[in-house]
């Protein structure tokens, strides 16, 4: 899907993030500025410690900048209450983590359903949507398995189903293929690509996997918390 240039889904302006580690200040982000448009399939890449995950955490309202602003769908996250931020994470943002981070005591079905439960969707609606999504990610038959009964790739597919079950505006995927083998990584990428194209879900990855970068429509390259290269989708 081609991104809609008129809609800046995410906008970072001069975002600085400094962590204090004892007496040492660690500059994770040094004045990051970029926009992500609705429908993009973008990758933030760079070496370890370049600030990829920190940038995703900022966009996902999991962390707040030391200075600068993060605007999601026109709302500056710094001005919002904890309750509103929770609601934004619930309704507008989906997360896919490197370590899958499924809730171990819940089945694949329950993991995918949980955010919809928080949204107050009806049982019927949840069931239809979750089973549809599990079918789409190829795990319909494993709906009642718990995470430990699934392979890494299967767990990550459940995580993708969970991320998009709530109908988010953007899915933030932090190194989504880092813990799976090459074939599985290909399949996961194909799945996310399909979701981007068919459903118009915006994806932002952090990665240093060349395979992921190769499929991204836009690559934002970070080094030491700064953007050193930003090849927009038009350039690609």
């Amino acid at each position: 899907m081609n991104p809609d240039e008129s809609k800046a889904l995410v906008e970072l302006k001069d975002v600085v993030k400094i962590y204090q580690q004892g007496n040492v200040e660690v500059h994770a982000l040094r004045g990051l500025t970029f926009k992500v448009l609705t429908g993009e399939f973008s990758a933030i890449c760079g070496p370890s410690g370049s600030g990829k995950t920190t940038a995703l955490n900022m966009i996902g309202a999991l962390d707040s900048p030391t200075s600068g602003s993060v605007v999601v769908e026109g709302r500056n996250l710094a001005s919002l209450s904890r309750k509103t931020l929770s609601r934004i994470r619930r309704d507008r943002i989906g997360f896919v983590f490197q370590a899958y981070n499924l809730i171990p005591v819940l089945t694949a079905y329950e993991n995918a359903e949980i955010v919809m439960s928080l949204q107050g969707k009806s049982q019927e609606e949840r069931h239809a949507r979750v089973m549809g999504l599990l079918d789409e990610v190829g795990l319909k038959e494993m709906a009642h398995r718990r995470p430990y009964e699934l392979s890494g790739g299967q767990q990550q597919r459940v995580a993708i189903a969970r991320a998009i079950a709530s109908g988010p505006a953007v899915v933030l995927a932090d190194e989504p293929t880092a813990n799976v083998d090459s074939d599985t990584a290909d399949k996961l990428l194909a799945l996310m690509e399909k979701l981007n194209q068919d459903r118009g879900v915006t994806f932002i990855f952090s990665t240093h996997d060349p395979k992921v970068m190769a499929r991204a429509k836009r690559i934002i390259r970070l080094v030491d918390g700064r953007i050193v290269d930003d090849k927009s989708w038009e350039a690609v």
Binding site: L62, R82, S86, F97, A99, N101, I114, V115, L118
Partner: protein, 380 residues
């Protein structure tokens, strides 16, 4: 719970036993008798008072008695004693526990039977056996010395040696005549109620019903030693129970806190996917709720068997304290430890444990809601 059950049962037994040894759970007597006990401070119409007292729904039995000091003499020796003149037609073991300890002989055939029943210690002092003559001497209503002859009809052994050394029973009508009393006149009417905990309220109610000429006193007023002993024990037990409650709460807190700390990553994920801090707080409080509820149910299920065994059979500690048991505040306590908790005490403890569980969950729940996802969701 067990400590309270032992305490409830033992104190109830002691109070009931004291009531059956003395003036009942509630005693009707002359208003000045408690401070200055003499044979001239009497109730003139005990029959009417008994009838009035029995109209109270809590009062189950009413018996008329004359109590006081006497001097007993045999051919061998003389000694002072405390006597209780009773009507054998009114008394049985539910009103007079001395009858349980009737070791030799029998109770009087009637209130005019010239017999006397004495404690085992007294019998030994007087060197008296069944059928022996015993002379009792006392001052009558007018302060004159009076005497009477009786024959030893029984010997009682209560287990409280000091009590057995002073107690004797006499037939009430014979003593009435000796003291110069009228037909229905006596020192006291002993009232017995189903639940000794209502003694105070019954005494208060009867005090206002019966008027100024009659005092209605609960066992606490007539047996201050026992009341003081129980109050002291209850106070100590409450202190211990509060300590135990704190330890229990600390244990529950530790369980919940460790459970939360072990799941910080899980909570971080939950916050990341849209759980609000309030919802996580509620989640842990709900866990506390179920922990409390299931803990109580499991506790009740596990202890039900042993509890009923202790209610029905008890634990015999006579090898440790002797066959006769211990004597507390003049009352012989059974050497068998039994339990029997009052419903309201059991409910109070259950509710207190439940509340302690909920309170113990507050901080872990707050902590769960304050989880910072970027700090807890780490790469595994």
């Amino acid at each position: 719970m067990l400590a309270t059950a032992v305490q409830d049962r033992n104190f109830a037994d002691m109070i009931d036993l004291a009531a059956r040894l003395g003036g009942g759970h509630v005693t009707l007597q002359h208003p000045e008798y408690l401070d200055r006990p003499t044979f001239s401070r009497t109730l003139l119409d005990t029959e009417k008072l008994s009838a009035l007292a029995l109209q109270d729904k809590e009062v189950k039995r009413a018996v008329t008695r004359i109590v006081g000091q006497t001097m007993l003499s045999t051919a061998a020796d003389s000694c002072g004693a405390f006597f209780m003149a009773v009507d054998p037609n009114q008394e049985d073991i539910s009103t007079l526990s001395l009858l349980e300890g009737l070791d030799k002989g029998r109770l009087f055939a009637s209130s005019r039977d010239p017999g006397i029943i004495i404690g085992a210690g007294l019998a030994k002092k007087l060197d008296a056996g069944p059928g022996d003559k015993i002379v009792y001497t006392m001052t009558d209503k007018n302060g004159d010395i009076v005497s009477g002859l009786s024959r030893l009809s029984g010997i009682v052994r209560t287990g409280a040696t000091s009590f057995d050394s002073i107690i004797c029973l006499l037939p009430i009508d014979i003593i009435r005549e000796s003291l110069g009393y009228m037909a229905k006149e006596a020192i006291q009417v002993a009232l017995f109620i189903e639940d000794q905990r209502k003694s105070d309220e019954v005494a208060l109610r009867l005090g206002s019903t019966l008027g100024a000429g009659t005092a209605a006193l609960s066992w606490r007023e007539t047996q201050p030693e026992l009341a003081g002993f129980i109050a002291m024990k209850v106070g100590g037990a409450i202190f211990i129970e509060v300590l135990i409650a704190i330890l229990v709460a600390a244990g529950i807190f530790n369980t919940l806190f460790v459970s939360v700390m072990e799941r910080l990553r899980e909570f971080g994920i939950m916050i990341a996917i849209g759980f609000s801090p309030a919802r996580l707080f509620g989640l842990i409080m709900m866990e506390s709720f179920w922990l409390g509820l299931v803990g109580l149910a499991a506790g009740a299920a596990i202890t039900a068997g042993p509890y009923y065994y202790l209610v029905a059979t008890g634990i015999d500690v006579s090898k440790m304290i002797g066959q006769d048991g211990a004597v507390v505040a003049g009352i012989a306590v059974s050497p068998v430890i039994s339990v029997g908790i009052y419903t309201e005490h059991a409910l109070f403890i259950a509710i207190a444990v439940f509340i302690a569980t909920m309170l113990s969950g507050l901080y872990p729940a707050w902590r769960a809601g304050r989880v910072v996802p970027v700090e807890t969701i780490t790469v595994v």
